[in-house]
Amino acid sequence: MTLVDIGRRAQGGRIGDSPTRPDGRAKVDGTFRFASDLPMDGAAWGATLRSPHPYARLVAINIAPALAIPGVHVVLTAADVPGRPTYGLITADQPVFADGFVRFVGEAIAAVAADHPETCRRALAAIDVTYEILDPLIDAEAAIAGDTPPIHPDGNVLRAQHIRYGDPTATGAVVVEGTYQIGMQDQAFLGLEAALAVPDADGAGVELHVATQWLHEDRKQVSACLGLEEARVRLVLGGVGGAFGAREDISLQVHTCLLALALGRPVRMHYSRAESFLGHVHRHPASIWMRHHATPDGAIVKIEARFVLDGGAYASTSSAVLLNAITHTQGPYRCPNAVVEGYVARTNHLPCGAMRGFGVVQACFAHESQMDRLAAACGVDPLAIRVRNAIATGDPMITGQILESVAPVVRCIREAEALALPPPADPDEPLARPGGAGLTADPQHVYRGVGWGVSMKNLMYSEGFDDYSTARCRLVAVDGGARVTLKFATSEVGQGFVTIAAQIARTILGVDDVELDRIDTGIGSAGSTSASRQTWMSGGAVDAACRAVREDVVNAVGGRLGIDPLRLVVDGADLVDSMGDYREPVAVALGDITFDRTVEYHHRPTEELDEDGQGNCHTAFAFAAHRAVVDVDTELGLVKVVQVATAQDVGRALNPLSVIGQIEGGIAQGLGLAVMEEIVQIDGKIRNASFTDYLLPTTVDMPPVVAALVEEPDPQAPLGAKGVGEPPCISVTPAIAAAIRDALRQADGNSTRADRITRVPVRPSDITAT
């Protein structure tokens, strides 16, 4: 349930309404084509051979036994990569196929194409690889200490970045510190990696249909590896079954294209779930030490911190994740002095990169845990201490950057606080207790706790990255009406950009009939669907393209009718002279002219950080507050999250129902990190590459969400709307951990066990302390 007023109009729909999504019908009746649903006559199947060892020298690869199997067409290895042998989002340090060394369990060694997936499996099993197994580097601290041999030519430290702000010698009367651990989370999108590559007849180009977050960045890397010009590599967005960061990096794109070009036939490649766990990047596990200094009444004086992130075998976006993490050390609070050390290490663990929240999830768990400790040490209420320190527009952050975004931190806290608490647990409903169908608890075993978390999250890309977006708007009269056609390369991954794009066009142009062109590289880049940026950036591009068309329309009509274009405005579905009598439907006013504009939208520039971590490195920020209510069986350590309440700073809800969808979905992922999701690696090998043991929240684990949308339009945002994708998943995790601590304090009458909850996911044995 929610306090949000879902807009009246279901169909059509302008900004502020909640129209249904244009692809909804196809998705419910099974006709929507995901990237895995693209058959093609004559297509072969592709599959990838992966390393079983975390670190080894590749001594020899014998592909002959695989080629001897009937139905196997081609087997490719590193020697068959015609272009650049490596790829990467920031540094191209990851080989297309391992050459010389394998550096993580799952690293790609070879790829095969065959007539049937089972034949592919048999071919992979037949490839004979000789390894010289080496001792894996699996300790991030050891990697940073610099006394271990490099496991990669680029060395074992992916990035070191520090922040020194204000007076490093400042101290406070009250000091609290702690070391916090965040485990490796997986994005676990349901739509497994899938692609279809169709080679051009001349073999000098290829069309790739793929589920991805950024078509143009994929094209850039793929074409470099294929040794082809970008213009010869065309990407089309296949239906995407979720992303959450795991589709930012290359996974199967290059392999599928290589096979198709080698074979001269289309090739389809699909990952299995086990392979998916290996084939994409994960959230960085982190160990974060923080020390907060404060005045006796709880005003923060200084924060010291040391971040160590384990980036795994290849660089991916680790340097940007570290930047995000350390620059969010202070959280949504004022902090006059800060000393922060940050490191992200290269190890032989699974590579890490983007996952919803991008470094801020880790920082937030630490800073919110610290705020509760600070509150207890000062004898101040946990909410009061947050309100006391809340950052406001115009305040500096520890990078020296002034916060210019609208910053309704206190309002988010107050509105979340005002949401009704859930009713007490029903003693006659055993399934509602922790343990669920396992029937482990009786009512007397369960304690209810309440906890808080508040977060700040940067929007868009940082450190000087110009992540612009492009959109094209065409407006033409058709069949007595008018139609808008929008084209963009914005990846729709489920978040609903395709819905709001049409709402924007309808609002600006007064035309209800909006068509969306195919999403592909036939237009300029839209940037990545990540960093909570598409509403702002691609929404901004669509808005700008529609406004450009509108300007062309009023200039044309004004010129034709002798009316000053500045007086002509769109009112509903009509074009109107705001100072005269002229009024006619936009569709009529168009005549037989086609209006067609393509616009790039850029956000304002940002800067890199200097060696003291100072610089205007971020674009904008959004805020959220979460309150979690949990029931805990403190003797067995089992948890049932009963309710999550939240107030989120959204700027303006372009589609309130979609915003609620992002909030509820983000909370589910934050809940997963809090109590159940973790990739377990032992001796460098993943132990739970399946949904049997990598646990996602089910309907029985996910509680009702009550949400308040805080709408204070941000003047910097093109539509006043901030991104909403990441804030919901960030402070819910520490809120749940805090609620568990609260339950433990009630059960025990002291804080001994509660104070030991310093890691997420919280495991039952962390609660029971057995």
């Binding site: 499996r121 099993a125 299995s272 086990a274 922790p434 343990g435 669920g436 169908a437 396992g438 029937l439 482990t440 608890a441 009786d442 075993h445 003797e635 067995l636 350590g637 089992l638 049932k640 109590v675 159940m676 377990v680 032992i682 132990r687 739970n688 049997t692 043991d693 646990l695 929240p697 089910t698 309907t699 029985v700 684990d701 495991r763 039952p764 044995s765 029971t768 057995t770």
Partner: protein
Amino acid sequence: MSVVVPRSLAEALTVLGERPDALVLAGGTDLMVELNEGRRRVGDDVTVVALSRVPELRAWTLDREAATIRIGAGVTYADLAAEPFAGLVPALAQAARTVGSPQIRNAATIGGNVATCSPAGDGLPVLAALDAVVELTDGAGTRELPFAEFMVGVKRTARRPGELITAVTVSLLNGWQGYAKVGVRNAMVIAIAGACLAVDGPGRTVRLALGSVAPTIVRAVEAESFAAARADWSAGSFAGDDMAEFGRLAAAASSPIDDHRSTAAYRHHCVDVLSRRLLTRAFPAGGSPRRPSRAAEL
């Protein structure tokens, strides 16, 4: 590869007699997972015998005189979780309700669970507590094995090639019974530790079987004897002071390991806690459990 779908038990046994190495497919919740993951290579000479269409296997029958219930190997966990079966063997119904999801419960069979014999199999502690007897049939006839002799190790059983599990027979006890299992998630989760406690009122015995905490399902015999000796049978209660000892004895009967799901220490703790809680439900402080088993009405 060939797939055979027999329409009767006789037909199934004939095929198995000809191909004793055939793979037996019931609900698919184990075998199909192995096939899909490529963990079981199915060569071109393999025969799969699918039992989903053998009606004799899908029935259960109540023998009032013997106070037993014979459950056909093809009975699904959905059947076990539903009435009227649930009222007859509530602990098995509780265990069935924790198995996977509705989709899994519609497919998973008790015979399949017994044939796989994972120590984490949810129904298995209940079978052990209720003195289950496994019925094995081949072309030559039928034999029966007590469950404790049938399960010999982790996913290892005493089934011989060519034998089909045709039924499992459990005792109908007159007294409280219940199942509880610890998992990290509130649904659809492999047990970190599981326990079934069943009371035989007239016989004055307490049965406690533990799952996921040893290579086989364990009957905690010392704990059982202790409970039987210390219970106030006429009042239906158990002294609080003895509860700690009962839990300790139960935990001592287990030999759990550290693995990626949990630690041995935590599993020991779970056995202690679950055992005490189940015993408290069976012998509540005020005497007489709230919900006696329906079997008491027989």
